[in-house]
C-alpha cells in the first residue's frame, strides 16, 4: 500500500519536472520534430495516467519494463547495481555496526573518562565534515600519499571477490566514519539511559564488575533503540550514498537514480524509487521484529 502511494508520488513528481526524456537526451540538439518523433517512439505522447496504469500493470506482472533512454530492460540495469549497493552497504555495516556498538559500550562503560570524551570528539568531528570531504581526505591520505587503496571503486561483475573488497575499502571507510558516530552515540545514550534503572543499582549491589553490568545487564535492555538506529543507518547505507558513489565512481543504485531523474527516465526512477522504499520499509519491519525478539516481555507474553 505504502509502495503504491510512493509509486504514484514518484510518477507525479517526475512528471512535474520540467522537460522530458527526449529533451534531456537530445539536450542542445533537440528540435521540435526530433522531440516529437522520439516521444512517439517512447509512447511519451500518451496521457500520463495511461502511462502510469500500463507501468503499474507491468509491475503487477513482475515486469519493470525497459529504460526509456537506452531501451535496456530495467531489471538488468537495476539488478547488478542493487547487488553492488547491497554489497557496499553490507560490507560497511559489517564493519560499522559492531564497531559502533563496541565503541558505544566502551564509551558508556568509561563515561566521562578521557577515552569517552576523545571518542565522542572524534566521532562528532567525522559527522561534522561533509561526506564528500571525508572521502577526499581519505583519498588524499590513503590513495594518493600512501598508495594503499584505489581511489575509484568501479567494481564490475568479472572481478574476483577479494579484488572487489579491496576496491571498496575507501568508500566503506568513508561511510563507516559517517555512520559510526550516529550509531555509537545512540548506543552510548541508550546504555547510559538504562544505567539509571533500579536493576542496574541492584546489579551493583550484587557486587558485579562494571564490565559485566554494562554488557550483561544494561546492553540487552538497550537493544531496541540500538536496533532502530542501526536500521535507520542501514537504510541510509543502501539508499543515501549518492555522493559517495559519485566520488568513488561506484556503480550503485543512487547514481542511477540521480541520472535517471535528470534524464526523466520515469520507469527507471520508479523502479529504483520503489526499491529504496521497499528497502526502507523492510529494514524498519525487520528492526521492529528484532526489537520484539530482543525483548522478552514482548517475546514471551504472560
Amino acid at each position: 500500500m505504502t509502495l503504491f502511494i510512493i509509486s504514484i508520488l514518484i510518477f507525479v513528481g517526475v512528471e512535474a519536472l520540467p522537460g522530458d526524456l527526449t529533451e534531456a537526451v537530445l539536450g542542445q540538439s533537440a528540435t521540435p520534430e526530433t522531440v516529437a518523433a522520439f516521444r512517439k517512439e517512447l509512447k511519451l505522447d500518451l496521457p500520463p495516467h495511461i502511462r502510469y496504469l500500463s507501468w503499474l500493470g507491468g509491475i503487477v506482472r513482475g515486469e519493470f519494463g525497459n529504460s526509456l533512454a537506452n531501451g535496456r530492460p530495467i531489471a538488468d540495469l537495476i539488478g547488478w547495481r542493487i547487488g553492488n549497493s547491497l554489497f557496499l552497504a553490507a560490507t560497511t555495516a559489517a564493519i560499522a555496526v559492531p564497531l559502533s556498538i563496541l565503541l558505544g559500550i566502551v564509551a558508556a562503560l568509561y563515561r566521562n573518562s578521557f577515552f569517552d570524551r576523545a571518542i565522542s570528539m572524534v566521532t562528532l568531528s567525522t559527522i561534522s565534515f561533509p561526506e564528500f570531504f571525508v572521502a577526499y581526505i581519505l583519498i588524499a591520505l590513503l590513495s594518493v600519499q600512501l598508495i594503499i587503496f584505489p581511489s575509484i571503486s568501479n567494481i564490475n561483475a568479472q572481478m574476483p571477490f577479494l579484488e572487489k573488497i579491496h576496491a571498496i575499502v575507501l568508500p566503506c571507510l568513508t561511510l563507516t566514519l559517517v555512520v559510526v558516530a550516529h550509531m555509537m552515540r545512540q548506543t552510548r545514550a541508550a546504555i547510559i539511559n538504562i544505567l539509571a534503572s533500579p536493576f542496574i543499582e541492584m546489579a551493583k549491589l550484587k557486587g558485579l564488575k562494571k564490565t559485566r553490568i554494562v554488557i550483561f545487564h544494561a546492553f540487552p535492555n538497550a537493544l531496541s533503540p540500538v536496533i532502530n538506529v542501526v536500521a535507520v543507518n542501514l537504510a541510509y547505507l543502501v539508499a543515501g550514498v549518492v555522493i559517495v558513489e559519485v566520488v568513488f565512481v561506484f556503480p550503485g543504485l543512487g547514481q542511477l537514480l540521480v541520472d535517471s531523474v535528470s534524464k526523466r527516465d520515469i520507469p527507471v526512477v520508479q523502479a529504483s524509487g520503489l526499491i529504496f522504499a521497499s528497502v526502507y520499509i523492510t529494514l524498519n519491519l525487520l528492526a521492529d521484529m528484532l526489537s520484539i525478539i530482543s525483548n522478552p516481555r514482548l517475546r514471551n507474553p504472560k
Partner: protein
C-alpha cells in the same frame, strides 16, 4: 539571573561550545566590519598561501578566503537557522497535532511522513529542487519540509509521552481546546528534547546544503556559504592545498560547538548525574 547561575555550574565542554557558537554568531553579525575585502571581490591570484594581506589565502577565484569565511558564517548560519526554525514550526506543530488529536489525523500525518521518509532525502531534495529551482527561498523551504519529517517523528513521540500525563488529562477534562493543550501543556514540557534536536538539526541542515552544493543545487554563487566553499575548493585537497579545509573546519567547528551545548543541555534535562 538564573541563566548565569546555570552557566557557572556548566562543565568546561559546554563553555567551550558556547564560546564557539558565540564566536560564530559574532562573526556572522559583524561580517561587513571585520572582513578586509568585499564578499565577492577578486583580490589576487588563485589559491594564494596565507599572508598578512590574506590571513587565510585566497580561494579558487582569487577571492580573500577569510572574507569569504566570515560572510559564509553569516549566510550559512542565517540560512540554516531559518530553515531549522521553519522545519520545527511545521514539524512540531504537526507532531503535536498528531499526538493530541490522535485517531485519523495522527494516522494520516504519520503515514504521509513515513512515505516521504521512505525515499532517500537527498534524491528527494534533488527532484523537488529541480522543479522549483534553487533560489535561497526554495532551498530553505524544501530542506525545511524534508527536515520537518524528522522533527515530526520526534515531537510526536515526545508529545505522546506527555499526552498520557495526568495534567494533560486534567486539562482535557477541564474542557480545554486542542490549541491550549498543545501550547500550554505539551509544548513547555517538550522543550528540552526539542531544543536538543534543534541543535542537531541545525548542523544537519548546513551539511545537507553542502551535499546539495556538491550535486550542483546549493546556494547561488557568488554568495559565500561554507558548504559551497568546500565544494568549490575541494579539488585542491588532492594537491595538498589546505584551502578547502578552512570552510570544512568551520563547519566542523560550529557543529562540534553546537553539539557540546546540546550534550550539556540533554544532560541537564535528563537530570542524570554522573
Amino acid at each position: 539571573m538564573a541563566f548565569f547561575k546555570l552557566l557557572r555550574s556548566s562543565p568546561l565542554s559546554a563553555r567551550i561550545g558556547l564560546a564557539i557558537v558565540l564566536i560564530n554568531i559574532a562573526a556572522a553579525i559583524l561580517a561587513p566590519v571585520i572582513s578586509p575585502y568585499g564578499e565577492t571581490e577578486i583580490v589576487g591570484d588563485v589559491w594564494v598561501s596565507p599572508s598578512p594581506d590574506h590571513y587565510l589565502g585566497t580561494d579558487h577565484l582569487g577571492r580573500d578566503l577569510f572574507t569569504r569565511l566570515v560572510y559564509g558564517a553569516r549566510n550559512t548560519i542565517a540560512i540554516a537557522f531559518v530553515t531549522t526554525v521553519l522545519s520545527f514550526m511545521v514539524g512540531a506543530l504537526c507532531g503535536f497535532f498528531a499526538a493530541t488529536l490522535g485517531g485519523w489525523t495522527d494516522l494520516s500525518l504519520s503515514r504521509g511522513v513515513d512515505i516521504i521518509m521512505a525515499f532517500p532525502t537527498l534524491i528527494f531534495a534533488l527532484m523537488v529542487l529541480s522543479v522549483v529551482g534553487t533560489s535561497i527561498t526554495s532551498l530553505i523551504i524544501v530542506i525545511a519540509l524534508l527536515d520537518s519529517t524528522r522533527v515530526f517523528r520526534l515531537s510526536r513521540a515526545v508529545a505522546m509521552d506527555i499526552e498520557i500525563m495526568e495534567f494533560v488529562e486534567a486539562a482535557r477534562l477541564r474542557g480545554e481546546g486542542t490549541w491550549w493543550l498543545m501550547r500550554h501543556e505539551i509544548l513547555p514540557n517538550a522543550m528540552p528534547p526539542l531544543v536538543a534536536e534543534f541543535g542537531l538539526r541545525f548542523c544537519f541542515v548546513f551539511l545537507f546544503i553542502a551535499a546539495l552544493s556538491f550535486l550542483g543545487l546549493g546556494i547561488q554563487p557568488p554568495t559565500a556559504d561554507w558548504g559551497s566553499m568546500v565544494m568549490e575548493n575541494a579539488g585542491a585537497i588532492t594537491f595538498g592545498i589546505f584551502t578547502p579545509l578552512v570552510p570544512a573546519g568551520a563547519i566542523a567547528f560550529l557543529t562540534v560547538g553546537v553539539n557540546l551545548i546540546v550534550d550539556w543541555f540533554l544532560h541537564l534535562a535528563s537530570g542524570l548525574e554522573d
